[in-house]
């Protein structure tokens, strides 16, 4: 019942947003919806419910992803208020309607127990994010939107093909026609292996496009670079987690069918490739938002590597989903503030942000340290856990490559972030805009960064339990 409330609440709020005539009042719907949604999700995570045979239900994985997404959305919602106050004269009906529907679609995806429904929800998130990416309405953002829309739609279509292949594998195995997750998991050992393997490859390519794994990430720098910081944070933290969940669903079926070897190979290959691509493009990256997009590619790689290694690394990957989401929120929102002040997101035009935007720039700097895995922030803990899993599994060469690439990315990102935050202040940009930091545009990233810091120092028991239960479902180690 609560779950249905969490699904319908965003749609109801979106309907109100469409009907509400005032551009000034409409933004207030966002924090109200986000907070109610988050309180519903908190109750849902506290009381596990069984869901045998129905289309919608929350298992450990779904509950965990839903928690991450809802938490990020709630934290970002206050920033949204400040954002729309800066652009008070912009028409925001479509944008806010899409923004309000977004958590609804993501809730359906997290709760979907049927692969078809999961597909519908993920495709819906693609379509909803298109108008949000295009909000700045210029040549650059239209190009980014078109690439995003076309690439992700074709990618998702491939995922549909993958779902159908897996379904056919079940038919071929002598079973019923079935796409309900729990029944598929039960009958997976009988599945026709060639169809199942082909299906998994298509699912991985399809949802991997959505998640932004290299070499399928090409839309990512454009879309994240041109979208408002708020949207970039929601896409990089929320949407990628949902796409990751979709991949994990196919991993679950493969594990049930006893095909761990292929899963491990494919995920490792894509994961390491993502790290390599991120390392190459993050070096000498002159655009702070594009840099963050490549950092997102990197962290998607870390997530799938964690799942591929298995054991304690799977737990680390689950922990990292949360850390990545929260830290990406910090980085994109503060980058948005810097972008707005200077009217540019090129490194050479945004130097010395600390002197003019003390809060945003220091949060940006701290967020950079967090995302690159510096202690005591939480991403350090999760990356270290993944690394521990690698050592435990005897993947010494892999861990060497992993550490090496993370170091390269740290240096590469540092080369861009440090001048932006601490470089000599540029005089001429001063009167370019009248943007000033407001409590609203700083509070959200501050809140998220505080959470990232606390999680690095102390991990509450309920969260640890949530990660453990989620990791148990996608354990690839024998």
């Amino acid at each position: 019942m609560l779950l249905y409330a969490a699904i319908f609440l965003p749609f109801a709020a979106a309907l109100i947003a469409v009907l509400l005539p005032s551009d000034r009042l409409r933004p207030w719907l966002i924090p109200v919806t986000a907070l109610i949604h988050f309180s519903l999700v908190l109750q849902l995570t506290a009381t596990p419910t069984a869901s045998a045979g129905s289309l919608i239900g929350l298992d450990a994985l779904g509950r965990f992803i839903l928690f991450v997404v809802s938490l990020l959305y709630a934290a970002c919602s206050f920033y949204a208020l400040g954002y729309f106050r800066c652009h008070a004269d912009w028409e925001n009906r479509i944008f806010i309607t899409a923004l309000l529907t977004f958590p609804g679609a993501m809730t359906i995806a997290a709760a979907a127990q049927h692969l078809g429904l999961l597909w519908v929800a993920v495709e819906a998130t693609t379509l909803l994010s298109a108008p949000m990416i295009y909000y700045n309405r210029n040549r650059f953002s239209i190009e980014a939107t078109w690439k995003y829309l076309l690439l992700c739609s074709v990618g998702i279509a491939l995922a549909m093909l993958g779902i159908l292949f897996v379904g056919y594998a079940g038919l071929h195995g002598g079973g019923e026609q079935e796409l309900l997750l729990d029944r598929m998991l039960a009958s997976a050992p009988l599945y026709s292996k060639p169809w199942l393997r082909a299906g998994f490859v298509f699912l991985l390519v399809g949802f991997g496009t959505k998640m932004g794994l290299a070499p399928l990430h090409t839309w990512k720098p454009d879309a994240y670079g041109e979208a408002p910081g708020l949207v970039g944070g929601l896409l990089a933290g929320g949407l990628t987690s949902v796409a990751f969940l979709a991949i994990l669903r196919s991993v679950q079926i493969m594990i049930a069918a006893g095909e761990q070897a292929l899963v491990r190979q494919m995920l490792l290959a894509l994961g390491v490739l993502s790290l390599v691509f991120a390392a190459i493009f993050v070096i000498r990256q002159r655009d702070i938002k594009r840099m963050l997009a490549y950092s997102s590619v990197e962290h998607m790689g870390i997530l799938v590597i964690g799942v591929a290694v298995g054991g304690v690394a799977t737990y680390g990957a689950m922990f990292h989903v949360l850390n990545n989401a929260l830290t990406k929120g910090v980085l994109f929102m503060t980058a948005g503030n810097i972008h707005r002040y200077y009217g540019s997101k090129r490194m050479c035009e945004t130097q010395g942000a600390l002197t003019v935007l003390p809060y945003s720039a220091s949060l940006f700097l701290a967020g950079f340290l967090a995302i690159t895995g510096s202690p005591p922030f939480a991403p350090f803990m999760s990356e270290f856990t993944i690394l521990r899993g690698m050592f435990a599994g005897g993947h010494l060469a892999l861990s060497a490559v992993f550490i090496g690439l993370l170091v390269v990315i740290f240096i590469g990102m540092g080369g861009t972030v440090l001048p932006v935050a601490m470089g000599p202040h540029m005089e001429e940009a001063e009167e370019a805009t009248d943007y000033r930091e407001t409590p609203l545009t700083v509070a959200s990233p501050l809140l998220l960064l505080a959470a990232v810091l606390c999680l690095g120092i102390y991990l509450p028991e309920p969260l640890r339990l949530m990660f453990t239960e989620a990791a148990k479902l996608v354990e690839v180690a024998p």
Partner: protein, 212 residues
Amino acid sequence: MNTPPNLILLFVILFNFFILGTSRLATCIRSVALQGALLSLLPLFLHTSTFHTYLLAGGAFILKGLLMPWLLFRAIRQVRIRREVEPRIGYIPTLLLGALTTAGAFIFGDRLPLLPAHLHSLFIPAALATLAAGFLMLITRRKAITQVLGYLMFENGIFIFGTLLAEAMPFMVEMGVLLDMLVAIFVMGIVMNHINREFSTLNTEQLSLLRE
């Protein structure tokens, strides 16, 4: 071999070639729509005639045969283009590539481990050939609208395969899939309109401002 589904699929494959070879945009849109409409008849022959089957066929027919072409024609009216498709490579090479991929689809389809019921039917080759033709359209055409048509052909190919599994899809989910596609085409139409306004053309080669 001469069952109605196979005849439909034969026409679908012929449409692939026709679409790849035609130079008129309006003909292209009509052919993709006709292909989709033909495909929506498939469930009627394949499954027992339940309410579910009729709804699926009806929904797909309205969407693929009527709404999609209407949206696309509206889009090209708004951006005032009626002219050619503007291929990146010529029509004859595209057709040859199409013939190659179709032959490949038939050879590959025979090697797949299929259920006895689907052996020697045209389902798998037609699905693969249509997917390949859709990809060819996506890759070889310059205009945004022809890329959308490629995406639609791609979806048609998936639909052929999907009819084999129609019973596993609850009605709600099926309608969700179709609705998603409809909204996708609608949003793409709007984006095309804005591309045209910003760049005064629908040629996607102009979309190259964002690079490293």
